[in-house]
């Protein structure tokens, strides 16, 4: 038996590979078998993380296991889907039992937090990369797509933005921070929490949704393009964490919130009638702007003046047809 066959058995024995709801046949055969309830559709998304591109060389394998799964599951949250299962394709330059144990520990803890089961995958030799494909369940007609924003809707996000971008110098070891600042930022980078419950609460309410992976301006550009509308963001309404503001100062914190990626917070458009009920139910809904006629994304100051050109690199993010 080869070492990569041993790895397959290692993953097959992991906590997150045990049977779960919706999984008729798990790891170990030619295919896994998933069983949808009547009236449900299957949501599918694939994400690849490559060493040296999406995470630093020699990254902590436990953190990597957490993050690889969270990044993929976040796409289920963005569709309003309930998580069911995932497959993992892992390419490794060599086999280290310690690395695998730590990686599986991180994977398991995120799988537990997201209620998602490992049902298959592939293990190959080569430069380190991870491809996670996630499966979720969503009632027919209730999936949240990027299209559908209506003029007059509110533009909202599900939490503070920019923390993951703020964490980058810490991730890369370029700077150091006090524990009280560094820990919350690094947690947001290495262990993003997919907003699964919020996504499901938005079913039948939000008109468009996605998770912020490329940065708020870029991702709002996708919503504007898909819906044939313009989005206006009020700079003063951007939710920023205390840690990020202390770390970068207000101006750079805002820049991180607007253009930094990797937050995996939901952005969505909401008819005004749904705001009060969502807030009353305790969901983290932050109104940051509105949907208007036109195209593209505009940033305005407290006086309603267009300040989009003042954002560094903003032109990359004006996605118009």
């Amino acid at each position: 038996m080869g070492e990569f066959e041993l790895i397959r058995q290692f993953f097959a024995a992991a906590q997150c590979a045990r049977a779960g709801q919706g999984v008729a046949l798990g790891i170990g055969d030619d295919c896994a078998l998933l069983q949808m309830a009547a009236g449900e559709q299957l949501a599918v998304s694939t994400d690849t993380l490559v060493e040296g591109v999406h995470f630093p060389f020699a990254a902590d394998p436990r953190l990597l296991g957490q993050r690889a799964l969270a990044v993929a599951v976040s796409d289920l949250a963005a569709m309003g889907a309930a998580p069911v299962a995932f497959t993992l394709a892992v390419t490794l330059p060599s086999v280290s039992a310690d690395w695998l144990r730590a990686f599986a520990m991180g994977l398991d803890s995120m799988a537990e937090a997201c209620s998602v089961r490992l049902v298959g995958g592939d293990t190959t030799r080569g430069p380190l990369s991870l491809t996670v494909t996630v499966f979720g369940s969503v009632p027919v007609g209730l999936a949240l797509t990027r299209a559908g924003a209506q003029v007059g809707d509110l533009l909202c996000v599900g939490g503070p933005l920019g923390d993951a971008a703020g964490a980058l110098p810490l991730v890369l070891g370029e700077r150091r921070a006090a524990e009280s600042i560094g820990k919350p930022l690094l947690d947001r980078y290495w262990s993003p929490q997919p907003q699964l419950a919020l996504g499901q609460a938005l079913r039948g309410r939000a008109t468009a949704a996605l998770d912020i992976s490329d940065g708020l301006l870029a991702d709002c550009g996708h919503i504007a393009l898909a819906g044939g509308v313009a989005l206006q963001i009020e700079q003063s309404r951007l939710p920023l964490s205390d840690a990020l503001q202390q770390w970068l100062g207000e101006v750079d914190a805002r820049q991180a919130a607007l253009t930094g990626g990797d937050d995996y917070i939901l952005a969505f458009t909401l008819p005004t009638v749904h705001l009060a009920p969502l807030l009353a139910e305790g969901w983290p809904v932050h109104v940051i702007g509105s949907v208007q006629a036109g195209s593209g994304v505009t940033l305005v100051d407290a006086q309603g003046q267009d300040i989009t050109p003042a954002i560094r690199g903003y032109q990359h993010f004006r996605e118009t047809p």
Copy 2:
């Protein structure tokens, strides 16, 4: 817009990304949405191909596109599933329009042949590798798993074996062959034809099935282990192509058939009662042995003598509990 965003749009515009049966939402949102008919389960499998490990450096991108998809779809055939969709995660060191065009052409032709639709994926920068996740549909209770072989069943395969292994020196440019020999062997390596129709014809008939990817002996070991039975293979019954026998001679051709990988031909166990009807329907069913009490895989000669130890490397393939 970055070059990798352009690649995403390139794939989104490919022939194989247009809508198809079972695909409620295709490429371009956070998730694709698949819709199963009532009484159907979703079969899922993931395969990764890494440059320099699973295919040679500087391989023809058109052939690579064909093969990457065929290898993954073959797992659907092995479960008796009907193909529906696939996702593609492609990691590329750099962007070449010519490479992408040729790759998409190969992908398209195999997608067309297999009736399968591209519904999503990811495009990242890094050392060349391809991860394909395939989705198929199979009626509840009719999926062909590796478990279930019964003592007294026939052991069968769906066609000649060893051609892909025989092609390897040609793939690597180590040897040359006449067109009449080289072409059929190279076709089997670069463009394996997943036995989808055969897999579906075996529903309710075969007691266990898989596709041969690691070599006949190794893969029969999986069936023996999963079913708690022994498999006996009669050497003289191994189907060998004329091209392979001319290329390697009979002894080495048999060795290739027994231990070479990459054939993607189905191997399955069949109650004897089902043999005649399958042959009458015209399916390519070759009986190569039988299921017996015990464990492991044994090769016997025409006189029934155990000749397993004479096969080079056979010990790797005796999978016993």
